[in-house]
């Protein structure tokens, strides 16, 4: 079962249009919420006159910041990294000041969305516009408008490992380049939504729509509402993608439940795409000033990095995690003993930001791998050879980078990097095929990127396995699913232990009422953490069943084996018990349990069920990956065609190779979007210019090549019983780096490909400047 390439069990309902997303759920008496958002990037919010809007028939209520409790705390930052981020947190509705276009200032509740939007036309909001800062440089300039009393700098930190200055002085080759990564985001196919209803009879506030970390979100909401956790239930429906941006705690995650309590009616909010672009976490916007040095043989001596990260107008739940990861992981899979980074997280009048798939890694990999190619060019050494000479070897594991992120040291737990590199390079066949010659205006190039992707971070996970009287298995996990196929892979883990066919296993996820504590799905942790917890729970169930069967059949436990949903005496077919029969035996209502010994307390009262919680792996698991791109560049128009893309990575153990490959391929497509097409463009006044799908360009099937995912199971992770490593973010992580290197090689002449996205205009500019210093 583990390792089987079975089709995903969840796909049948998705493909038939039978999924149940939050917008599909209807409850009687529900009203619709519509958030009114600031059109100014920076302004004093003087007054809101709701009278004309309230007069419209069908409008139930209009609330502003003044209607919220005066002592309501802001939305917390839940991931500590660097600095004191408290002064920069966001309240669910703006009070005296608005700080980004899209910031919620009021909520209109009406019988339907159209009525609410009609009412919005009559809402009078008195803003006094203030000067805005729309870039990190503008925010740090002398005399710049300050977003907060505490200023525009959220945090600054640094690492200083080894002797960087000495290494730079002794180097045979030094390159200096500034790399910029554009602001972009995750763009799930389904926008956000919430349906909150307070059941007065049972005293439960039930919320459909949360995802990613519902238990954590419940705790945050309970604190903000001053309600017991046990009175809030969050239920994850089917979810159309997240990529990290959906499922964090946003202003709406407080407002909608709060309104349901206040209005004593169910309240529904379905985000539309235009508001999504201004409201969802943005990410990745950063600048790396890199100095990289090597000796004459191509040995990398030092990296010296100045990192400036633009986090938007507020610190949200993820704080400064993105630049934190970037600064900690910059050295990559190489033996770097001298590394210095100075990092600054800056606030600007733009949508706040958070994590996006491969957070900080996509950016750092681009800057580092481009710098390595520049060094290789300067030294006249083949870029693959430079990498080969610097890769950390298997005998050096675990490797301590010397940095930390989220208060944990950056450690590579295991892996044979040179072996995976060699196997992937062999598959590429570049040594056998010479670099293609120019063809008219077309220039072809090849590029690679090597990286280590951390996964399985986060404190714990829990799971429950129960076999019922019919032998069906119900699995409950604290993890969630946004399309990764967890209903399949986690069932495979349980099937492997219990020897029950997949069809008889159902996985439930994301419901705080079904399991009291849950870690959630992020940082590619579900296969490792949810998998490990369910592995342990299933082992407990198996042990329990064998013990009960041994007692009933009066044989030794060692004489029994588990097969096809039955426990049988080895070598005696027909002498055994079905798992369902054992479940019936163990259920508290079973009369047999009430016979001697005559104790009132029914020990072991859960039936054939078990729960297991597992602790985190402090520094997670590490997946080594090789990305390789072949591109064709039209040097007269600047257009780029990616002709071939290969990813080779060591996942330790693949629970379902088809799903692993799918994760990688989908991730590469997302990475191509971030490398060539996607950008959240702001003008200097903080106005979002690319806030619709007409302007924000997502890749389609036409923009991507055939993508090959080479999934190796070379070194099992020592951190968990399954030996699995989390692979979900490997796909996008190296794409900008590999394609950037390929385009630079196609253009030749030391072309500077240093800014993302790599647009046709940037290609023409780089081509024109070849040979210039």
């Amino acid at each position: 079962m583990i390792g089987a390439r079975i089709p995903r069990v969840e796909d049948a309902r998705f493909l038939r249009g039978e999924g149940r997303y939050v917008a599909d759920i209807r409850v009687p008496f529900a009203v619709e919420a519509h958030l009114i958002r600031s059109p100014h990037a920076h302004a004093r919010l003087r007054a809101i006159d709701i009278r004309a809007a309230m007069a419209l028939p069908g409008v139930e209520a209009i609330v502003t910041g003044e209607d919220l409790p005066a002592d309501l705390p802001p939305i917390p930052c839940r991931i500590p990294t660097h600095g004191d981020l408290e002064p920069f947190l966001q309240f669910p509705l703006a009070r005296a000041v608005v700080r980004y276009v899209g910031e919620p200032v009021a909520v209109i509740v009406a019988r339907d969305r159209a009525t609410a939007e009609d009412a919005a036309d009559s809402l009078v909001v008195d803003y006094e516009p203030l000067p805005a800062v729309a870039s990190a440089d503008a925010a740090r300039a002398a005399g710049a408008p300050q977003l907060f009393a505490a200023g525009n700098i959220a945090a600054e930190w640094d690492f200083d490992i080894g002797k960087v200055d000495a290494a730079l002085a002794a180097a045979a080759a030094v390159v200096r380049e500034t790399f910029t990564v554009q602001r972009h985001t995750g763009v799930p196919l389904e926008t956000r939504g919430l349906l909150a209803a307070y059941d007065r009879a049972r005293g439960v506030l039930e919320i459909h729509g949360p995802t990613k970390v519902p238990h954590t979100n419940r705790a945050t909401l309970a604190d903000m509402l001053r309600m017991p956790h046990s009175e809030i239930r969050m239920i994850e429906p089917d979810v159309g993608g997240s990529f990290g941006v959906r499922g964090e705690f946003y202003p709406e995650d407080f407002l909608i439940p709060w309104l349901a309590l206040r209005l004593r009616r169910p309240v529904r909010w379905i985000e539309d795409r235009v508001e999504h672009f201004a409201a969802i976490n943005h990410s990745r916007e950063s600048r790396f000033e890199v100095t990289a040095a090597a000796d004459a043989s191509g040995r990398l001596l030092a990296f010296d990095v100045r990192l400036v990260s633009d986090l938007g107008a507020y610190i949200r739940t993820h704080g400064a995690v993105v630049p934190s990861h970037a600064s900690a992981s910059f050295p990559g899979p190489y033996r770097i003993r001298n590394y210095r980074v100075q990092a600054t997280a800056v606030l600007t009048n733009k949508t706040p930001s958070g994590t996006l798939r491969a957070p900080g890694m996509f950016e750092a990999n681009f800057a580092r791998e481009r710098a390595i190619d520049l060094l290789a060019g300067k030294l006249g050494i083949d870029p693959l050879e430079v990498r080969r000479r610097n890769l950390i070897g298997p005998g050096e594991m675990p490797w301590f980078v010397g940095t930390e992120s989220v208060r944990r040291p950056t450690v590579f737990d295991s892996g044979d990097f040179p072996d995976i590199f060699a196997r992937t390079v062999a598959e590429l066949g570049w040594d056998k095929a010479p670099a293609p010659a120019p063809e008219g205006a077309i220039r072809r190039g090849r590029g690679v990127a090597l990286l280590v992707e951390p996964s399985a971070l986060g404190p714990f996970e829990g799971g429950r396995v129960e076999i019922d009287a019919d032998g069906n298995v119900e699995v409950v996990t604290g993890a969630t699913s946004q399309g990764q196929g967890h209903e399949t892979t986690l069932a495979q883990v349980v099937a492997e232990v219990l020897r029950v066919p997949i069809e008889r296993i159902r996985v439930r996820h994301g419901d705080t009422a079904l399991i009291p504590h849950g870690g959630g799905t992020y940082a590619s942790r579900a296969a490792v953490m949810a998998g490990a917890s369910l592995f342990e729970a299933a082992q407990k169930v198996r042990a329990k069943a064998i013990r009960a069967a041994a007692e009933k059949l009066e044989v030794a436990e060692t004489d029994l084996e588990l097969r096809d949903g039955r426990i049988e005496v080895t070598g005696v077919p027909g002498r055994g018990l079905a798992l369902g029969a054992i479940a019936r035996m163990l259920s508290p209502g079973n009369p047999e349990l009430l016979r001697p010994p005559k104790e009132t307390l029914i020990a072991d009262n859960e039936g054939l069920a078990a729960v297991a919680y597992v602790r985190a792996v402090p520094s997670g698991t590490s997946v080594f990956a090789v990305h390789a791109a072949e591109v064709a560049v039209d040097i007269e128009t600047g257009q780029i065609k990616v002709e071939r893309y290969v990813v080779g990575c060591d996942v330790g153990r693949a629970l379902n190779p088809a799903i692993v490959e799918g994760q990688i391929v989908g991730g590469v497509v997302q990475g191509i979007g971030g490398t060539l097409l996607e950008e959240l463009v702001y003008d200097e006044f903080g106005q979002l210019q690319s806030g619709t799908l007409a302007d924000y360009l997502l890749p389609s099937v036409h923009e991507v090549p055939a993508i090959t995912a080479l999934v190796f199971e070379r070194v099992r992770s020592p951190t968990n019983p399954l030996g699995v490593k989390g692979v979900g973010e490997v796909g996008p992580s190296g794409v900008a780096a590999a394609i950037g290197n390929a385009v630079a090689q196609a253009l030749g002449g030391g072309a500077r490909i240093s800014a993302l996205p790599i647009t046709p205009e940037r290609v023409l500019s780089a081509a024109a400047k070849r040979g210039q210093p």
């Binding site: 939007e117 009609d118 795409r273 008219g440 007269e636 600047g638 036409h702 205009e761 023409l764």
Partner: protein
Amino acid sequence: MKPAPFDYVAPIALHDAIALLERHGDEARPLAGGQSLVPMMAARLARPTVIVDLNRIVGLSGIVVDREAVRIGAMTRQAEALAAADLSAALPLLAQALAEVGHPATRARGTIGGSLAHADPAAELPVAMMALDAVLTISGPNGERRVPADRFFAGAFETAVKTGELLTEIRIPAVGSEGHAFLEIARRKGDFAVISAAVRLRLADDGRCDAVRIVLGGVAGAPVRCTESEERLLGERPGSGLLAAAAGRIPADAIELHSHHASRGYRRDVAPVLVRRALTLAAARAGAPGLGVPAP
């Protein structure tokens, strides 16, 4: 994204539609395929109070191909036109342009007339229609009038259609033996063009060019006819040097459009490349020898 309140009428006779549009003036909008209007209404960028649905009116769609001309009803779906074999055979340039218009889903509803009347500066069909010397029939309260394509497109989203009028038919004179090309640069397949070029080129028996049309799209409010480039070619035998020289004469000053997807500078730099490639392709298709394999 819900539209502001509006009234909806679906007449079955053309004269009723025209009467409604005339009566309500700027408050009314006609609805053809809806692929441009409806998203604008959803975003409340357009707020017509009356929608006059044209989809029930009989006789406004259809393709008639004869020896003299091709006539296309304005309500003909783009998908239908793309699938019409006789249209592709008679007007391969139009078929190539249609293949670049949006995606199969939008072409299923979008209409030929709707795209032309909307006149987005980046649209492909206006460029093709100008290159093909199309004549557009506008119906209004005072009857019909015919406007040639090069006077129909006045600027960005501006045409010769006045309030109370409707574009009802497009007539394209038959093309003889000639070469053609429609090329486009867009950020993604199916997007509006950053630059598009439609070229027709005819060679006389002696191999000299005796007729040529070069039209650029995506560079200004309306498509730009490159008459200086055309004049450079007339009477000459097309060779790669001549074609490059002709492409170099496109009016740079007429290239004005600027967006974060492509700056004005990019369009000015790359438009000659696109025109050169389209001329090469068209000339080769017209039978000019020795032009080599044109770049994709």
